[in-house]
Amino acid sequence: MTMTPASTEGQGRAAPAADPNPPATEPRDWARSILGNQQFLLLVALGALILYFYSKRSVFLSSGEMANILDDFCSLILLAVGETFVIVSGGIDLSVGSTASFAGVIGAFSMRGMVSHNDSEALVLVVGTIVCAAVGAGVGLVNAALINWLRLVPFVATLATLGAGAGMAIVLSHGIPIGDDTRAIIFSQAKVGPFSWPVFIVIGILVISWLYLHLSRYGRYTFALGSNEFAARAAGINVRRHLVSVYVLSGLLSGLGGMFLYLRLGSGAPTSGAGDELRAIAAVVIGGASLLGGSGRLSGTILGGLILTTVTSGLIISNVNPNWDQVAVAVLIALAAALQALRPGRRRA
């Protein structure tokens, strides 16, 4: 257990050094294995929630309702994946929801002309996707510039772009949804096996993101940056460049989230992503990431997103006033944060 510089003279292995942190005792190990396995707790919570809502209204497990939950999950999880990278890197991105709205509106403008020309739906959607992704990446670049060069803390920088994005989406669209693309809705609901095809695109993005966050050098640098920025810089990592890439990634995925909202609504609605930053951050925190940076699992974020969308759908089909949903999200964040604070072995802030 102990690890001290081994003496070259080979002196006293018999007398162990006085270690300020004694080895973990049995009860602590036990607590750690249960509480430390957040993924397991999340799965149990998700299962319990599904059973609860099913027992209240059996329609909850109907294929129509499941499809609803999945659609809801797809547009949320893209924002939450980008948010995971940002939070692991020690930052926060409050702008993801308004970036999705803003990118959706701009994308809808670019698609509206093509729709009226009766261009092929696939081409329209490809162009829209590229525009949404580019707009999102652009917002991410602005975030990175504010943080890196104006030296704003991420909370303030992304709060500013949250306001600017939401405001511009409303100004440009005059507050009304842009486009009336019923073809897109029908097109995007084409099934491949049990799910509509956009679900598979989201699954693909999740797999690639998981691989890169947990198994690649890019992910390693992201964790190092969030864990100890000075150590990352001293180890020769280009911290500024990495920060830029993380915020651009978050913006890009938010832009794609805007495209998914367009597919659901058939239009770019200026408030379609409003409030989604709260849900995205909630998914990440429920998933076990520390807001101090340096820790988190993408699988946790996915489970967190599933729990959130399950609660939202469950409340809707239980005929609860939909405004309670926000309260439920807030309660879930508080619970997850409390669980984190209770978890043993966390370093101090």
Partner: protein, 252 residues
Amino acid sequence: MADAPLYEAVGISKSYGHVTALFDVNFSVNPGEIVGLVGDNGAGKSTLIKILSGVHPPDRGKIRLDGVERTWKSPHDAIEAGIETLYQDSGLAPDLTIGSNVFLGREKLKPGILGRLGFLDQKAMERQAAEELKRVGIAVSGSRRTVSDLSGGQRQAVAIGRAIAWARKVIMLDEPTNHLGARQSIEVLSVMRSAKEQGLGVIFISHTLPHVLEVTDRVVVLRLGRVVRDAATSEFDAESLLGTITGLIEAS
């Protein structure tokens, strides 16, 4: 320039705003030499180390490695040139494993297409990290544990082991025996001696003067940003070294 020092700083000045941290400082280390860098708080020791390790650029002055003038644009440049630094505030990422910390910034990638895509060869890194730490005299068990699970002394051991394992020319240690018990401190000193025997230039910053007197070949004393004494360790005893640091003894 065959007799040039291994690593040398000439006429270094550095100010932060109105505060002059260093003024016209000359400093050098030779291969196989341990140089002690001492001085009171605020004397400029850490500033000098940050300049020598590429964290900050000097306002004026030159840095030479093997007699060749060099400019560090970032710590990365200095690391590439074979200069390792152990910082006073741990340079480890607590959420990463021991192995990941040893390889931080130097990750090994998987062979073939996976490596091209940026995927890590984590197993090879954990294995080599354990070997490297062992080679420089630090016994590790479980290089897959995260650094946050280690005690202060263990973290320091990993940080020193990493620095010595990678250093090819110079190693700078800023207060390496801070937070360590007596026995662990002695072991750190022996690790420094073995680095010296490997022909590295070792720069040792410490407030613990007995350690400095025990392990160094030469001592450089900084006071208020200036070098006030640069002499062989044999010319000092505990009293005269303390007197030089505090300014009670006026050096030439």
